[in-house]
Structure formats: C-alpha cells, structure tokens
C-alpha cells in the first residue's frame, strides 16, 4: 500500500528511509531498497542529509518509483530559494512522485561543505504553504499553473524537544499549512514519547514515530551528546554494548520499541542508516 492509501485506510503506517550515494552510482541504493517493496508503505529519500553533498532526493525518488516503491521526496529549505523549491516540487509531480516531506534542513556548518551559503529563503512552515498553494494551482505570487500537483504533504516534529511548547506551536502551524502526516525524530524513550502523544493526538494528524537502528553504544552516546531530542536510555546502551551479535540485538531493540509504540501512535518510520537489509525482518518480526 502506498503512503496516501495507508493514511486513508488508517492502518498502522510503516515507512523507511534511504540515502542517495555520494556519487552517481545509484545501483546499490536501489538494490538495498528493493526488498522494502511490499514490506513498507513508502520510503523516504533524504535530501543531502546532515548537509553532506550527495546525489539528489528527486533522482533517488524516481529510481525507487521505477523499482516499485512509493517514494517520499524529502525537501529541505537549506539549499534552494523559493523559485528552486517551487520548481523542484513541480518536477517531482511531473515524475509521478506524490509524497513530499518538508524540513528546514541541517545548517551547512555541520556538513562537508561548511563554507556553503545557507539559503533558508523559506522555512518549513512557509514551504508547506507554498506546496499546498501549488496543489491548488497557484504559485507563491498567485500566478496560475498550467497543470497542478497533488501531493500528500508531510512534516517533521521532535517529540522530545526541550522545552516542548515551541515545538508544539510549530507543529500546529505546520498542520495549518497543510501537513497531512508527521514523521518524528528517533524515539528510544517510549514513556516520554507517550506524553508527547497525549498532547498531540487531538490534532488528528497521523504521527509516525522514528526508529533508528541502534548499532553500538558509541552511536548511542554520540546521539545523546549531539543530537537534539534523542535520548537513548542507559539500559538500551548496555544491551547493545554487551550483545555478541550487534545486528541481531539491534533488530530486537527495534522490534521491542515498535511493539510498545504500536498502540500509542499511527506508524513507525524505520531509519536503518545503512542496514536497509534488516528492515524486512524487523517488519515481519514486529508484526506490522
């Protein structure tokens, strides 16, 4: 089932994610993603994640679509002005890409071209409005389009942001601007995520919880220290640290989290970070 259909059917949504290569060899990305066809509802293609220069999300989405996977086009505000963003949205539509996830984007300072000029001509709220406007047949200046896109628009939210209120204010603005689903930052602390869901379930927008495959204690400690809104509990860090088979343990942890999340949110977004081949097994074992 594609993303739009999954949302409509109110089923437990399962999405995953893939990153385009740094270079033109897209074969491996497509081969890694291929087993996800039929296992997940849609697959995000990241847009120069962590501000590292790579092949573009749009091309990646098109390749996934050719492979029979419903892609989610990630579009960040970091690298393009309003003309380029609007144009890329039209291009996505022309290529048959129907899902768009709109994000602010990491600052170039954190990437591999730190001297790049950050654009941020629009922010995520404004870009959602622009995308919605395009779907209604008008560009930002009110000009009429010759053919209009029909997107399923999504946005992101950080359920463990501290303080949470500004994040909730922004989430409401994103909903008012046309967001039809939310994917979240990685969740490891289910109780805290539950408190977030208590606050946002009244918004009546599907919330798809982020699942990052935990690869090592080192990765967990790095995320705790450096990534906003991610908190990996000590017990999970010890569990992955002492595991003989880290991949197996990682799958076990992910399945455990999904099992607990199943009843409190509308879906999960599995971010395998290179371990794409483990995702089908996780989906099967978690019974989703």
């Amino acid at each position: 089932m594609g993303l739009r259909e999954a949302i409509k059917a109110k089923k437990f949504i399962v999405t995953s994610e893939t990153a385009p290569p740094k270079g033109t060899d897209i074969f491996r990305m497509v081969e890694d993603a291929r087993p996800l066809a039929g296992k997940v509802d849609a697959v995000n293609v990241t847009d120069l994640q962590s501000a590292v220069m790579r092949l573009g999300s749009l091309a990646g989405c098109y390749m996934l679509k050719q492979a029979g996977i419903d892609p989610i086009f990630q579009l960040t505000c970091r690298d393009r002005n309003r003309l380029a963003l609007s144009s890329d949205l039209l291009s996505a539509s022309a290529l048959g890409i129907g899902n768009v996830l709109i994000l602010t984007g990491d600052h170039p300072a954190s990437g591999d071209h730190p001297g790049a000029k950050p654009v941020f001509d629009l922010d995520a709220v404004q870009l959602l409005n622009v995308a919605r406007g395009l779907c209604q047949g008008r560009d930002m200046s009110g000009n009429k389009l010759n053919g209009k896109p029909d997107f399923c628009l999504g946005a992101v939210v950080n359920p463990c942001a501290e303080p949470i209120e500004p994040e909730l204010i922004k989430m409401r603005k994103k909903i008012d601007s046309g967001a039809q689903f939310f994917q979240t930052q990685a969740v490891f602390d289910v109780e805290r995520f539950g408190l977030f869901m208590d606050k946002v379930s009244k918004y009546n927008v599907p919330v798809i919880a982020g699942i990052v495959l935990l690869k090592s204690a080192k990765m967990a400690l790095y995320m705790n220290d450096n990534v906003a809104g991610i908190y990996v509990p000590k017990a999970l860090i010890e569990r992955i640290d002492t595991a003989a088979d880290k991949q197996k343990e990682s799958v076990g942890i992910a399945c455990g989290l999904i099992g607990r999340l199943k009843n409190i949110c509308d879906g999960v977004h599995i971010m395998p970070i290179g371990w794409e081949r483990l995702v089908p097994d996780i989906v099967d074992r978690a019974g989703i």
Binding site: A109, D123, N129
Partner: protein, 214 residues
C-alpha cells in the same frame, strides 16, 4: 556601530607590495571604538610599515571616514601629503574605504580592516551583532529579539528542532533565538504572536545597492 577587525599583517603587506610610500587614514568613530582605526592603531601601522622599509607620508583620523563631504575637505586641505603617497591605507570600515576613494580622486585606497557587522558595544572590546539590516523590522512580534539575526537559519516561524539544552544547532555556546523568544513571549503573555504564521520575507527590500534620499 560598524565592527571591524584588522586583517592579518601578511595580508596587508601583500596588498601594499609595490607601493613604497603610504598615507594612513583612520576613523574617529566606529574604528576607534573597535580599536582598529584609532590613534594608537595608526601609530602601530606606521611603525610596522617603516620596519618593512616603507615611507609613511602622513596619517590622519577622519571624523567620520564615511562622510564624503568631510573626506573631500580633508583631501583639499592635505593635498600635498596625499599627493606624495603611492597609496592610501584605510583603517576604516569598507564604507570608509570607498568614501575615501570617492573623496580623494585618483589614488589607490586599500583596506587594512575586515568589516564584520553592525554591532552593539557591550563593554571594552566586546561587540555583539543584533541586527543584519534586513530592511523589514519584525521584532515588534518577538519582544525585540531578532530571529533573522540571532537564529543561524534566520527562521520566522519557530525553532528548527536542532536546538539542544536551549542552545543553537550550529554553535552549542549560543542561545537558540526561538527559545529566547518563546520564553519572553510566555512571560509577557503574548504567545499568540508565535502562533501566527509569519509570511515569507520580501527580499526585494534588501536589493543592492541601495540609496536613500530624505
């Protein structure tokens, strides 16, 4: 005020290569406040150039260097000293360099400073940027905290999600502007300011170069 920083000595000497005699100009206002273009810095620069075998034909501090009429008056009154110099080295902001170029026709004017930002004088030697001269002030809605300047991404509708411990994604030493704004608006009971969707900015207001006639 305009905050400036002296260029590396090697860079200054590099741009002066081939020029034997130099006239030095500083500024009595911003560059003096920044200790980059005041009396002491002109003396230091003169000593440096002389140690490199160059001749300083004179030095002056304009008040201010960005005032074209004053530059022209100065040029008229000091034409002999200026005439004898191969180049002018300006210890001023970039505007001062160009006003000197416009006011003293026919002379090469070189910048000894890098022009950094419009800043606030906090205390001796400490300057901070609070405004990026965007041409459309919106800080009535944010309790006078400018997100265009203080947020690394210049966002208008709230935090980016990258802040950690209330600090910015780009520099964990700096406060997240939107959390500062949120906390102030909450105290003032004006959170509705943040709930309203801010429209995209009109960057045509920032078109360059600008000219204002009043």
């Amino acid at each position: 005020m305009i905050v400036t920083r002296k260029k590396e000595t090697e860079v200054i000497l590099g741009m002066l290569k081939g020029y034997k005699s130099v006239f030095l100009i500083g500024c009595a206002q911003c560059a003096t406040m920044c200790k980059t273009g005041g009396e002491q810095q002109l003396c230091d620069m003169q000593a440096l150039l002389e140690a490199e075998g160059k001749v300083a034909t004179g030095k002056a501090i304009l008040d201010p260097a960005c005032h074209l009429v004053k530059v022209k008056q100065f040029a008229y009154q000091n034409k002999d000293a200026i005439k004898g110099a191969d180049a002018i080295l300006a210890l001023t902001c970039g505007d001062g360099v160009q006003a000197i170029k416009d006011g003293i026709m026919g002379k090469t004017v070189l910048p000894a400073l890098d022009t950094l930002f419009l800043g606030e004088f906090e205390r001796g030697g400490h300057f901070s940027q609070k405004c990026v001269l965007c041409g459309e002030c919106i800080i009535d809605k944010t309790d006078a905290i400018c997100p265009i300047t203080m947020c690394a991404k210049g966002l208008l509708n709230g935090p980016c999600g990258g802040s950690k411990n209330k600090k910015c994604e780009v520099d964990r030493e700096k406060d997240c502007a939107w959390i500062l704004i949120y906390e102030r608006l909450k105290v003032l009971r004006k959170l509705e300011n943040m709930e309203k969707i801010a429209c995209p900015r009109d960057y045509s207001l920032q078109s360059r170069p600008q000219k204002v006639i009043v």
